[in-house]
Amino acid sequence: MKNYLVRRLLALVPVALGVATLTFAIIHLVPGDPVIAMLGETAAPADIVGMRHQLGLDRPLPAQYVAYLGGLAIGDLGESISYRKPVSRLIAERFPATIELAAAGMLVAVLLAFPLGLIAGANPGGAGDLGAMGFAIVGISVPHIYLGPLLMILFSLDLRWLPLTGRGGIAHLVLPAITLGTALAAILARMLRQSLIRVRASDYMRTALSKGLSARAALVRHGLKNALTSVVTIIGLQMGALLSGTLIIEIIFSWPGIGRLLISAIGSRDYPVVQGCVLTFAMTYVVVNLATDLVYAIIDPRVRVS
């Protein structure tokens, strides 16, 4: 396990460096002059020179790159143009909201997926299977940008059960979490069904049944456990969709996370904030992926060796 961990951490270094390089490139890929793009055509020359100096754009590219990486190493993401605050502080203030949303979305996904997957996988081809999988394919196909407003119309405007937007208690979290988690729930339910069907055909299930275990006990005690490994893999693979989904959800529900920060920074051409948010999203994803792989290695020892 220790070897595996070290190997995985080492493999992380080039990816992290690549991600940092790409986010560094953001401001340099802006067509024309990024400073004029930020300040506008009518900006005073002195302001342009000042801004260029503040962003370090008046230095040679290699020096900028080294300074950028050096800054990252100590958690310095530069200063926001519109907020006039360190980018790292803006992100730190909003990061918990985004993680809260993502975690709630994941919880919804798992809570929905297990019953659906079990119903479908317990009796493939039956009415329960058809219903659960029909729900799943619709769940995968409904986009966030429609599901969100739909839930708002139904539960906030018509029934008035839940608040429309903003962040507060659990009530504020319900609709955003359902919007975010539904597609993942559907994917997980399909996966769980698939693996249950595969597991049911296996020798150890036949053994368990011939030992006299009831079908239900065999399925839950032996089947579910083995089906879980592929579910964990899918959760890891889908974390990307979940994380980038928060971006859209935060806009729909005015959720004060880094997704909304990113989109508003794009609108105001606040490039240091754009860079910081993109980097934070990517690095969070990379770390979450690593964590999933480690969980996977714990569940399934075979992974560590290969």
């Binding site: 080039p14 990816v15 690549g18 991600v19 790409l22 986010t23 953001i26 890929l29 802006v30 067509p31 394919i137 619709v138 995968i140 196909s141 409904v142 986009p143 966030h144 940008i145 429609y146 407003p149 739909l150 708002m152 119309i153 405007l157 974390m239 990307g240 969709a241 979940l242 994380l243 980038s244 989904g245 971006l247 859209i248 806009i251 729909i252 990113l262 989109i263 794009i266 609108g267 754009v274 993109v278 999203f281 990517a282 994803y285 990379v286």
Partner: protein
């Protein structure tokens, strides 16, 4: 075409054909102008003249949904086609070169994959600004890696087969190996991936346009229609329903089609 015991394929083909026909024939049959502003009909509900009602500027929603279908389907087809070609070439090159080049390419793919979901497309759209060509570039940058990985994986597997080894021993060049022996084996998984890919890009395009990073208003796109409809959820929910269902149905169609093809060719994407 339509297989027994494969309802996904049947329903998928039907839905996709319906959506494609709506995009091609819709604007020809229903001739309302998607851009013409009619202040007398602001937020009007569905009527005979305007079956899906009118938006906040009195523009016909059905016309805008049909024109939006053209935009959505053409963008997603173009993006998937480019991603497929670029990804396949890169993946095949990596697999056939092996060693250092393969390593380098796959590390590059890893870096692209470190940007979750549509984040890379959002970042690129943020740099390039809104507009259709920039939208295609942003979505392609996000999409090509999947094809590269599939082609690389399949080529590596197929390379070990006897028929390919035999051809190699007989002195066949890489290009011939690729075209005659490796490509046919890759077609199935690529078809599955591309079909799901079109659905995925329809969603991603809508999301980017929703965020104001895609099609520029007044060009009708499902994403910017949903965005515009958000302000009128209570008074005019039809502004949200029409483009929302259009996106949902299109993605559902391509997902079912992808499922159906996967069942048929025996490959999971």
């Amino acid at each position: 075409m339509i297989a027994r015991g494969n309802p996904s394929l049947t329903i998928g083909v039907t839905t996709v054909v319906a959506v494609v026909l709506a995009a091609i024939l819709g604007p020809l049959l229903f001739r309302a102008d998607p851009l013409s502003i009619d202040l007398a009909n602001i937020l009007a509900g569905p009527s005979r003249a305007h079956p899906f009602g009118c938006d906040a500027l009195g523009r016909d929603v059905l016309a805008r949904v049909l024109w939006g279908a053209r935009l959505s389907l053409s963008i997603s087809t173009i993006v998937v086609a480019i991603s497929l070609v670029v990804g396949s070439v890169i993946g095949a090159t990596a697999a056939l070169s092996g060693g250092r080049i393969d390593n380098l390419v796959m590390r590059g793919v890893d870096i692209f994959l470190a940007f979750p979901g549509i984040l890379l497309a959002i970042a690129l759209a943020a740099i390039l600004g809104p507009g259709l060509i920039d939208l295609v570039i942003a979505l392609t940058a996000m999409g090509w890696t999947g094809y590269a990985r599939i082609v690389r994986g399949e080529v590596l597997t197929l390379r070990g087969r006897e028929c390919v080894l035999a051809a190699e021993t007989l002195g066949a060049k890489n290009s011939r190996l690729l075209m005659r022996h490796l490509l046919p084996g890759v077609v199935g998984p690529l078809a599955v991936q591309a079909t799901f890919g079109i659905g995925g890009i329809i969603g991603a395009e809508a999301a980017l346009s929703f965020l104001g990073l895609g099609a520029i208003p007044p060009t009708p796109s499902w994403g910017n229609m949903l965005d515009a409809g958000r302000a009128f959820l209570l008074v005019a929910p039809h502004l949200t329903t029409a483009p929302g269902l259009a996106i949902g149905f299109s993605i559902l169609g391509f997902n079912l089609l992808g499922d159906g093809i996967a069942q048929k060719v025996g490959h999971r994407a």
